[in-house]
């Protein structure tokens, strides 16, 4: 027996034991997330079984893919020769063979470099808009990009694009001069007047004069040659680009103190939001010609772009109105107290906050818009989903093919739309200034 007063005590810590098996690693995760109760466990097993069933049903079809074939019958021959008489398989060769049709529609083959270049330049032009850490000077390229893209895709003389852009320069110059000589409201009026006068009377002659001096022109490509994802992109991008500023103006109009402007904005927004896009597209194809001076013909794609822009502008206006409503009154009052004019207050104080709040709504409107570009089939334009697929299926080579074109277009749309929604989340995170 040892001395009882000498109590046992440790001089060093016991090494920490690992938590029990059910409380660590994969087990813990599974216990918490998959089998937390009997009911949950059953649901997990049933769900996994369903997913596995679907995968086993569809996997062979994807595994038995044929990428190179000239026709559907050849595809099937290859599949049967390789994987047995009863095997079914995907025939991606239809995409491979009709790739150009899907991407460019019936655009002249020799000119494919033009939309391709326009697309690459689009990425360059989008960079400074989407990511703030790009060099700020690049924004000038983004500003001239629309005219450049127009010239690249439709062709004609280069100087038309230049003179259209010069209209904005003329407006800006008029704004500077008139503001210095008179005042800001007159400056705005002078700017609009100068730009409109330039486009109406000077742009055409100047462009043809310059064309005589320095002939730069691309072969003209008619709008009915556009199709596939090129068309979806043109309509989508134009409408996105033009509808945001228009939507901002409409939302401001709707909150305006001036009853006339407010009423007009409300009527416009509610009208556009109340009718389906298809009726607006019908209007573009059947009715717009009625409302223009007799004998004017103007391009169907352009008409569709205008209508889609109006459509999405009304939705954007409502989204931004929500953002404006969320801004506390104090912000407006503080702007007034600082002596800012209406437009200064909007530009410096209100809009930066309102737009930030409305980013998710704006982007989901844009996603909806991009998806809706497929509806142009209703007026006979070749959208990638129905138009091109029907054209492909009309040929004897690919008659009877169903899933591959749909899956292909679906995946492309998914990539772009999902990318847009992820970008909006990134932007939200970046612009977040509260400390939550």
């Amino acid at each position: 027996m040892s001395d009882v007063t000498q109590a046992f005590h440790r001089s060093q810590m016991i090494p920490a034991r690992e938590p029990p098996r059910s409380q660590r690693g994969a087990w813990k995760w599974m216990h918490e997330n998959l089998f937390s109760s009997i009911g949950n466990g059953v649901i997990t097993v049933v769900t996994i079984a369903i997913v596995l069933y679907i995968v086993t049903l569809s996997l062979p079809w994807f595994l038995h893919s044929v990428w190179n074939a000239k026709s559907l019958t050849e595809c099937r021959t290859i599949i049967h020769a390789t994987w047995g008489e009863n095997a079914g398989g995907a025939c991606w060769a239809v995409i491979h063979q009709n790739w150009n049709l899907y991407v460019f529609g019936f655009y002249p083959i020799a000119q494919y470099w033009r939309p391709t270049l326009a697309f690459v330049l689009l990425l360059v032009a989008l960079m400074p808009i989407l990511f703030s850490h790009m060099p700020r000077k690049m924004i000038w390229f983004s500003a001239v990009y629309p005219a450049l893209a127009y010239w690249l895709i439709w062709g004609g003389t280069f100087w038309i694009a230049v003179t259209i852009m010069l209209g904005f320069v003329a407006g800006w110059l008029a704004l500077r001069v008139a503001t210095r000589l008179a005042n800001a409201p007159l400056g705005v009026a002078a700017a609009v007047l100068a730009a409109v006068l330039w486009w109406l009377f000077a742009a055409g002659p100047v462009a043809s004069g310059l064309q005589h001096l320095v002939p730069i022109r691309l072969p003209f490509v008619a709008s009915d040659k556009l199709g596939g994802f090129l068309l979806a992109f043109i309509v989508g991008m134009c409408a996105i680009g033009f509808s945001l500023p228009m939507g901002i103006l409409l939302s401001l109009g709707r909150r305006s103190d001036m009853p006339l402007i407010k009423t007009t904005s409300v009527v416009f927004i509610e009208f556009i939001r109340g009718v389906p896009l298809i009726t607006l597209l019908f209007t573009a194809s059947f009715l717009l010609a009625y409302f223009l001076p007799p004998g004017t013909t103007f391009d169907l794609v352009l008409r569709v772009i205008i209508m889609v822009t109006l459509f999405s502008a009304a939705y954007i206006a409502e989204v931004i109105r929500g953002g404006l409503a969320a801004i506390p009154r104090g912000q407006f009052e503080a702007a007034d107290a600082l002596g800012l004019t209406y437009w200064q207050a909007q530009r410096l104080i209100i809009m930066p906050q309102a737009l930030k709040i409305s980013i998710p709504g704006i982007v989901s409107t844009f996603i909806g818009l991009f998806k809706d570009t497929t509806l142009v089939i209703i007026v006979g334009l070749l959208d990638p989903l129905m138009g091109i697929t029907n054209a492909v299926r009309a040929s004897t080579l690919w008659n009877g093919i169903y899933w591959e074109p749909y899956i292909f277009s679906g995946v492309i749309f998914f990539i772009f739309c999902f990318g847009m929604s992820r970008y909006s989340m990134y932007l939200e995170g970046k612009l977040k200034t509260d400390h939550r």
Binding site: M258, F282, F291
Partner: protein
């Protein structure tokens, strides 16, 4: 502002129209009004000139002319001798029919998916996320085309069900046959039927009317009983048991009525090359219905999820602290608050669904766009009138729905201060 007003007013000068912010609004509005009138006048004069050149005068008389075409799916009387106006009405009814069906299923599906997306079960939550993302990021047109292709290309032709050893089998114990043109469903029949009443534009089954009347009466009586139960509870603190009377009142009368009418089912059966008996519903209905429901459900799921997440955790905790059980917490605390967030966007999703039903053209469903904006437009050549009428009808539908939404918003608005 107050400084400017303290100064003695020097009266009105013309320059104030530009410089004084009190008057500038009038100048801008006057200019705007001029521009608006000029623009509208220009458009209208162009329209008048164009119509005169084409020898057309806008009139809606063609609506009373013979249509001369058949519509396969019609819920109201229509033959090819009927008028264009009646054809438009058939289209409108079809549009409303598919919209109501779609709204119901989309809501059910959307609520389920939205709640399951918040599930603690990882597999289920992920699966629902995948569903939502896939449906939200791919055009509706594609879903309609795919579902239509599934229904028309994968399913067997009616004569595949023929013979002693058919290659296709009917579903649900031989009551439903899915073919590449239609889905044959059993139809309810009554031995002692009350017959049909002609309401001028459509036949209505009196059996159906009686059934609805009995159900409504049951629900109303049940409400009286429940109200009495609440009164007793408030007075004495004890609530009388009501579940059995509720059950009896809701289920009893319809069952008795159906027995009295002699309900039996008319099963579709193959006669010759086609099914006879039952209801043969064209595939286009199902393609449009499933497509619209599944697509809209993805959006509704997000709305429901956001609504539930919008109720702060403190509310649930406070309810628990008060001793409410989880079920009561949900129905008394969380749901009323979540609904205030959920319902307005939900109704605008219904509106979107109605407008999206114009995509019926992809599956050859005879909606308003197909009758009035399609065949009637092409036959009569009256594009202006047809499209304006179509826009007007959709506008009325959406204004009605917005009005309902505004009424709801006002009734649930937080009463502050």
């Amino acid at each position: 502002m107050s400084l400017a007003e303290d100064r003695p007013d020097s009266g009105f000068r013309l320059s104030k129209l530009v410089y004084d912010s009190r008057y500038r609004g009038y100048t801008i509005q006057a200019l705007f009004l001029c521009a608006l009138f000029i623009a509208i006048g220009w458009l209208l004069s162009n329209a008048a000139a164009n119509l005169a050149r084409l020898g057309l005068s806008p009139s809606f008389d063609f609506l009373w002319n013979r249509a001369g075409y058949d519509i396969s799916l019609k819920l109201i009387h229509f033959t090819n001798d009927s008028t264009h106006g009646r054809a438009a009405l058939v289209g409108l009814v079809n549009t409303l029919f598919i919209s109501v069906l779609g709204c119901i299923t989309a809501t059910v599906l959307g609520v389920i998916v939205g709640v399951l997306r918040l599930s603690k079960n990882w597999v289920v939550a992920r699966l629902m996320t995948v569903y939502v993302e896939i449906f939200r990021n791919v055009p509706l047109l594609l879903w309609l085309l795919i579902i239509y292709a599934v229904l028309t290309a994968v399913t067997p032709a009616p004569n595949a069900y023929r013979g002693a050893n058919p290659s296709a089998h009917m579903w649900f114990w031989g009551s439903v046959a899915i073919t590449n043109r239609y889905i044959a469903l059993p139809a309810p029949m009554f031995t002692h039927s009350l017959g049909f009443a002609d309401l001028g534009i459509f036949w209505i089954s009196l059996d159906f009317v009686a059934l609805v009347a009995v159900i409504v009466a049951g629900v109303l009586i049940n409400r009286v009983i429940l109200r009495r139960a609440s009164r007793i509870q408030e007075a004495t603190g004890k609530r009388p048991t009501t579940w059995w009377s509720t059950l009896l009142l809701i289920l009893g009368p319809p069952v008795v009525l159906l027995f009295a009418l002699g309900l039996h089912w008319d099963f579709p059966a193959l006669k010759g090359f086609n099914f006879r008996g039952g209801v043969l519903a064209p595939n286009s209905i199902f393609a449009l219905w499933f497509g619209l429901s599944a697509y809209t459900a993805a959006f509704i799921a997000e709305i429901v999820r956001a609504g539930i997440l919008a109720v702060s955790k403190g509310q649930t905790e406070a309810a628990h602290a008060l001793g409410l059980r989880p079920g009561r917490t949900m129905s008394l605390v969380v749901l009323p608050q979540a609904l205030r967030v959920i319902v307005p966007p939900l109704i605008s999703e219904f509106l979107n669904l109605t407008k999206n039903s114009t995509l019926a053209f992809a599956v050859a469903y005879a909606d308003l766009g197909a009758t009035l904006g399609g065949i009637t437009l092409n036959q009569s050549g009256r594009a202006l009138e047809c499209i304006l009428l179509m826009m007007l009808i959709y506008l009325i539908i959406s204004l009605v729905i917005s009005a309902v939404m505004n009424v709801y918003n006002r009734s649930v608005r937080l009463k502050e201060r």
